[in-house]
Symmetry: D3
Subunit: 279 residues, 6 copies
């Protein structure tokens, strides 16, 4: 994660929890009471967002010192130390909740993504995300998907064309929709089409799109449809695929499987921050 | 949800997905292509966040017309129409994803809260949330908890004192921590203490705190400890309570059970937006 | 004052005075002309906001060095040196006015609060503020009240319930208003009721509110009414109390006296910044 | 006050008091409970900031209707109705405090300015303000000064040159300071010099500045010094002038007297908002 | 241009020119002085940004009425009326400069793009822009390029991969750079490579990139190199191409020519706003 | 340029190009890959904006080290090294485009201004800018004009009065317009009047304005009109003056010539950033 972007995005998130200040920590501690804290994993998983720890604490107090014991993308086992933090106890506790909220969510996403990859167990097919992210946290969540081994689909409606059923219906056909789009988009924009029938797959191929999405299809259906698609067109399976059915797509040959649940239904990875004592 | 606050909070969330514009919708539709869309529930649950629909669409296009068929706090059955939207198809599709992302998350939280209340099945004990919310969305998520029938714990570290183990350890005792806090806080601030032993409960009572939290306790332990607490002190059970163990707390007598998973591990409630056709 | 919050709040205040730059200082000085300046009290009072000096100057120029001779809450006598500042004269003069404007206002509030406490001269009764603060500066002003020895009432309409005459009239009675409120608020929220008659005080006690406010009452009236209130309910006198009448409340027994004039009618404490010379 | 600027500046001020919402008003009222309220003057003075009432309420709720009975710059007598507001009681009460805080402060400034003009009682000499305004509210406060009949000195350090003692000392003389400034400033910028001696006045005249400020001078001293200044140079008296000494400057002949206390030590003009009842 | 994005982007641009208000217009006119104004082209060109006129004026004053006589992408001849504006003269004049500054710049870009297309005079080759836009105005300027008939290259470094000489040098070869990139990017991201030699073109083809850019090449060189590139790879000529040399690329066969000067060296299209008189 | 203002203004400009991150640089480089880069002039001109280089890079990565070889206002010859940058190659390349876009634009403005001064070749007459700047970049562009040797006219409509034809027509005459303005403006505000006839010049002189602008006049006409204006009134020629006609104004005697094209039609000064290699 780019540190400048991270810094600017963390500011409003810290202020949301702080408002005018932390009543408890400011009543109990002096800013000059120094101590050491540890962030520890309380479950197994994949780490994501570790750079939030030093960045957020340095916003709250530049004199806080953070040592990271684990890097993003690394496996965490329950009990693993992720980071030690040395500095003002008041400021450490003030930042605790927001930092853990982000870190747990991101590590939860990385872990879930990694599980999906294991369940799929395919050498060819990649897992990717969708735009079903938490509003305001897209950058954090899309990065977390990559930490788990997944790939990012569109970051916004501005960096790729996705022609869906509503667009096709309005234009009359995939051919006409693609033609309309080609009139306005520039050279760096990819065009993907959502297909629901074999006819549509054929039409999309003929229209020369960059990606073809098979909407709500079983692995068998995809294995069949994919034969209609030349290798330079990327294929994507999307819709209705769960952790339980992922393994059936192992040999489907599809290039990407996009999973909305990676980001819209996150189980945070449990972590704790403990003060080890004063110094 | 206060509409002014909602409006100001929605703006950056819409811009996150839009960036410089919606390539697909702007290529396919004219702003003047008018149509009608419906938002439909695709699972059973409780609705929360319905005012986002008219507010977000009116930011995107003041001429879009939204009719709500369901109100917040109402039950949704799969297939229920939540809202119909009439206006520029381009602008409807541009807002679709962000609106659904929020609505599904909030309704997921409301639904989960409601399930927790059913599982607990207590006339006395209330369910409440924690600060383990998604950074940036605390206002949305805390409101969703209330739509499910739950209550809000602190909105920020600025509107209540919560004395935890780290504070107690630093001060030496609950008594000393409470005394220290009383020196600085004003008349509208409540003081809650986290307790881990019977001795601590007694000490907290003697210190005259406003709330006592039983940390990581079974229902039986709480039923015992609660006898030490006079009725004007509010009690809260927190930590380690799951959907599976909630029912054991039915007759524990505790005033509030706070559940971090209500907001940190949300399963979005599935919904869809479909264009019914042009007009 | 939390330094992170302070930094973020100071930025727009500095930019308000700077706009595109400081014409005079930039015309006269090079950024590299180094000098030393002193901030001096020009009247007796209580200091508040001293951390603004290093924080604001380090925003303008991280190489400026500030030494503080006085801490917040300390007494100032006319002529006392508050701080010395070493660094670019151009940048020191550019920040001078905004820093003094804030420091004088905050110290004025602290001084006034301290005078109020002296005039009241009560061992039991505390002075607190109201929401009659300068829009945009609530955090600064509420902190200044605590520097003078006062306490903070609500920080916002979001962190406490205050049932006033308009609410009571609408609900029909205090009892009904309190009941209505209890249905929605969480465990950390206190409920205060404004009372105007003895009947209302009794009703508020029966309704089990957390605080009872006596609106526009003399010390004698309060001494009488307070007997109706059990000790675990906090009492507050508010409305119509001036510096001149404060002493009459010395033995009234009320817990808090809230004074709007502490923040809405501030006499800034005079200070000056003088350049001692180049280095 | 320009309504666009006003709108953008009001937003953060309203959010400061609202945070996540108004607990009391939202618990007691439905947004659809309609009523009528009146804003009334509780003291004599001059009105300033009346456009804040409709602008702020329309941010909170565009369906609220405001009728203004008094315009800015008009005299208010205790008991005068300033405005009536019709609409959602919840939203009216939510905005009450911030609106009154601003209105009272601005009307207080207008009233004070007006008193200063009366005390001065001069046909020639104008009263003006300084940059000793409340950080964040300069636009509001400078406008209020004009409502009271005063004039605005610099809005920021960016729209005028003010050469003070520190600048003169650094450059060696007024002559050198003015020369230095002339090298960089453009045609629309005025240059003012602070003078402390007769020699400096003469030097400033010779240097061809646009304004000469007499610092900390009695009316008699000014009457003498002013004879040295040709009529096309504007003169200003500043420093140490109080309400009590203003009248002595009646015939001093100085063009402007600048008074820091107009904005740094404001006594808010008392006002109240009362709900007249439901509709 | 999406109106919501436009609105949010216009606000700071208007405030930049307004600061605390428009001294002249507010001194001369009452807000209620109504008049009519016309925006007229003072040179021939292509219109871009017309929606800025109603959007900006409605921010300044919702009661201002704008009628557009020309649409974006339309030809303008000197003297053509672009829009008439009816409403408060004060508010019309307050917005004039910022609106014209934007409109002239955008129309200048559209006109220049259109000229480039004419000079190129190719049925096959398209003109596109670069990221050499004015910081802060990328959305405005990229839209203006499309109004002139051009296409948009990357909107940001986040929506496409562009492998340049520095990247290739670091990785050792195009092949290695592309491999490295493929490991992290998702399915919607295109990869472009900058090539300087025939060897590099061949290597890029073998690496299977989406676009190949010929850096600083004459039309003849490109006509030769392009034979090495299969038709499903998009080609782009970039660097050193001027208005004078564009026509030589007419039959080069390259897909896109990107021109930095379209946005980094803009000649604004002259326009004026005239008040026709009061109403 | 004030560094604090610069920092705050650069943030959104960097984020505009970065969005969620730099796909290419983050795919190719580790943040820890260190190298050295040079910014070199590719054309002759005047440097402006050099402090953007260290300020922007330190936002992106505080460990990047920048050495400046040229200062603002200095002449650049093609091939001159402007700065060397040492640090993370990833972060250097991420900032490259935005920094160059600004630097080239500002240096282009400084160069153009300088050329205008050379072409004018007058000892008396100064060149100044207008408000025809790029929205959002006024501070940058006005500073660049001064680097080229020019002067700044108004920074905003808030720091000077400019009475134009529309105002005069509405008021009836220059005399009446000036009188109206004098009633509201403070002592630090200058009043300029646009004149189109000899009569108007005489009227403006009689009205005692601070500046008289000759609109669309030849040098000969101005040489004549200027005799009507006493020396303490500043004169400005504006409108219709081009690089080609500037020299004719050499001996016109006018104080300032304002040139809109200095900022509205900028030819960026070409520069490049090259990575010299790893370290």
């Amino acid at each position: 994660m780019n540190k400048f972007i991270l810094t600017e995005k963390l500011k409003p998130l810290l202020l949301e929890d702080l408002q005018f200040g932390d009543l408890t920590s400011e009543a109990i501690f002096q800013a000059s009471d120094i101590g050491e804290a540890t962030i520890t994993a309380k479950a197994d998983g994949i780490l994501s967002g570790s750079s939030i720890i030093p960045t957020a604490f340095s916003l709250l107090d530049p004199s806080i010192n953070v040592k990271l014991f684990k890097n993003d993308r690394e496996k965490l086992a329950e009990g693993d130390k992720i980071a030690s933090i040395e500095g003002s106890i008041q400021h450490i506790l003030t930042g605790e909740r927001v930092i853990l909220n982000l870190l747990q969510r991101m590590s939860g996403i990385a872990t879930l993504t990694n599980q999906a990859i294991s369940f799929l167990n395919s050498e060819h097919t990649r897992i990717c995300d969708t735009r079903k992210t938490t509003p305001g946290l897209r950058g954090f969540e899309k990065y977390a998907v990559t930490c788990g081994g997944g790939y990012n689909h569109r970051n916004s409606v501005n960096d790729g064309v996705m022609i869906k059923d509503n667009h096709i219906a309005f234009c009359g056909s995939i051919t006409e929709a693609v033609e309309k789009v080609r009139k306005t988009i520039g050279p760096m924009v990819k065009v993907e089409v959502e297909t629901e029938t074999e006819e549509q797959v054929k039409e999309a191929v003929a229209a020369g799109v960059d990606l073809i999405m098979f909407d709500n299809r079983t692995a068998e259906e995809i294995a069949h449809l994919i034969k209609l698609v030349p290798s330079h067109i990327i294929t994507e399976a999307s819709g209705g695929i769960t952790m339980d059915t992922l393994h059936t797509y192992q040999h489907s040959g599809v290039d990407y499987i996009s999973l909305g649940f990676l980001t819209h239904s996150v189980q945070g990875l449990d972590m704790s921050l403990n003060i080890n004592g004063g110094i």
